[in-house]
Amino acid sequence: MFLGILVLLYFVLTTLVVPYMAAMLALVVLVLWLLARIPPREYAPVLATFVPLIAIVTLMQAVVRPAAGDAYLARIGSVRLSSEGFTVGLAIGMRLMTMALTFAAFAMTTNPNDIALALTKLRIHYRYCYLTSFALRFLPLVQDEAATLLTAMSVRGSPDPSSSNPVKRARAVTNILLPLIVGSLRRSVDIALAMELRGYRDDRPRTYIRRIGMKTEDYWLLAGITLFAVVSFALKFSGVLEFRTYG
């Protein structure tokens, strides 16, 4: 999975060709569907949140990027929209969406304990490997605490966090930051104590009941990554695909 993400990120960040980006996005969706059995409708709402961002980026690029030969798509007063800008903006937006989906795919398909185990195999100390699953375990707790604080503050006259006014929403969130951080720090002391009480120590070897190894889906994924990388490099060095990060 790590390898797949690295390869995908390399090509996503070094090209701005819209059909290629669309193909990569479609590839990630297909891999999730076929190998991990996660249909698009499960994460479509999350992807939909990127649509406004993509629209803004596309519009900005269309406005600021000059058109070759002064041929613009449209003119609204002094504002001119170029097709090159539109294309680059769309490519950047799709880049963002592809990266987000790739990281989300990783989170959806990988047990954090397996991540920790994989890292221990790389001889990284368990204290660091465990951080990943530990963070995921306590993230819902922080979310619940934040929700409770927002509700408690709003009933006492603080700005409504569900307000349509973005300034009020921002103020509401800012108001809970300090109590959230202080509460999390206090809780961390209790958690550390509880961990020691359950025998957690840095200085002695531990055993692992989980075993990780390659499964059929992993081999298919590895083959797919290899094929993708070969095809992409071929397209790059043959000049069919223009590789640039920006500009």
């Binding site: 047990n111 954090p112 304990n113 699953s133 530990f134 995921l136 375990r137 819902p140 707790l141 809780r187 209790d190 958690i191 104590l193 509880a194 961990m195 020691e196 009480l197 359950r198 025998g199 957690y200 120590r201 002695r204 070897p205 531990r206 055993t207 692992y208 009941i209 989980r210």
Partner: protein, 303 residues
């Protein structure tokens, strides 16, 4: 295990016959930042296999006492101590650190969220044993035994954040049990739970005692606690003001603040007796109260 099912051998009730598994001797403690001691002249012996309940108002020092009995104080929380605490006859001061003590004594805290460190219940049961470097077959056997003993086999593949409060605390107790400590201290484990969750945790504590583990439980829910405890200790202002078999303690002299700790049925029995009703055994539970009522009814009918 309820009081009615207490072991027939009462050797553990006599501190002179058997070395206590846990003992505090003239023990006092003051936190570093505090001006007054939190614990004053604590003398307490807990026998192996006993279920000791500790009650008292907020600020009486109950949680501090538990922390002193399991080594959190002084190895984790500093302060000034006088007197001694012995675990299996060995002075706490002779232990190298908290990690050495946790092999024998475990502490269950109030908030179950702070005591679940893994995404899934199965990993949670194994985590403590993995920390100790126990061999995998032994871990799997211990996990299975704990899951069976606490009836959480159906929760093994569940995400810990989706469990109810009672289920979470039950999983915590099962995870502690998997480590096979000889003593388990529970610090108000039901304080954040609803009645269903409370019952789950008390049953879990009862299961610990049924497995021969010494249990010391601080609780405010005395109605439930007296169903399981062999002895009761009452704390007030850092001192143990009463200690003994449950009925003896509840019947004894109590300050006005502490009478609130008497179970309602027990207080009812005392009040009936004070009004001349022939109550033979003051009931501790609804079941005992029903038995008492039936006996009174039988006497009234048949004379």
């Amino acid at each position: 295990m309820t009081l009615e099912q207490a072991p027939s051998s009462t050797a553990w009730l006599d501190p002179d016959t058997v070395e206590p598994i846990l003992r505090a001797e003239n023990f006092s403690f003051t936190y570093d930042a505090a001006r007054a001691p939190v614990l004053v002249d604590i003398d307490l012996s807990v026998q192996r296999g006993e279920f000791l309940g500790i009650v008292g108002p907020t600020g009486a020092g109950k949680s501090t006492l538990l922390q002193c009995l399991c080594g959190v104080i002084p190895f984790y929380t500093p302060g000034t101590r006088t007197g001694a605490v012995f675990i299996k006859g060995r002075d706490l001061a002779d232990y190298r650190g908290l990690a050495d003590i946790t092999n024998t004594v475990s502490l269950v805290l109030q908030d179950p969220e702070c005591q679940l460190f893994n995404l899934h219940v199965r990993d949670e049961l194994a985590w403590g044993l993995e920390n100790r470097g126990v061999a995998v077959p032994e871990i799997l056997a211990a996990m299975q035994h704990a899951a069976d003993a606490f009836g959480i086999g159906h929760l093994l593949d569940r995400n810990t954040s989706t469990l109810s409060g009672g289920e979470k605390q039950r999983v915590v107790v099962a995870s502690v049990f998997a480590l096979r400590p000889e003593i388990v201290l529970l610090d108000e484990p039901t304080s954040e739970l609803d009645p269903v969750g409370t019952q789950m945790v008390f049953e879990a504590a009862g299961l610990l005692a049924a497995e021969g583990i010494t249990v010391v439980m601080v609780e405010h829910k005395v109605e439930e606690l007296v169903r399981y405890a062999h002895r009761l200790a009452v704390m007030e202002a850092g001192r143990i003001t009463a200690l003994g078999p449950v009925r003896d303690v509840l019947r004894g002299d109590m300050t006005a603040r502490l009478t609130a700790y008497r179970p309602h049925v027990f207080q009812m029995g005392l009040d009936l007796r004070a009004r001349g009703v022939a109550v033979d055994a003051v009931p501790l539970s609804i079941e005992e109260a029903v038995g008492m009522y039936r006996r009174l009814q039988s006497v009234a009918i048949h004379g």
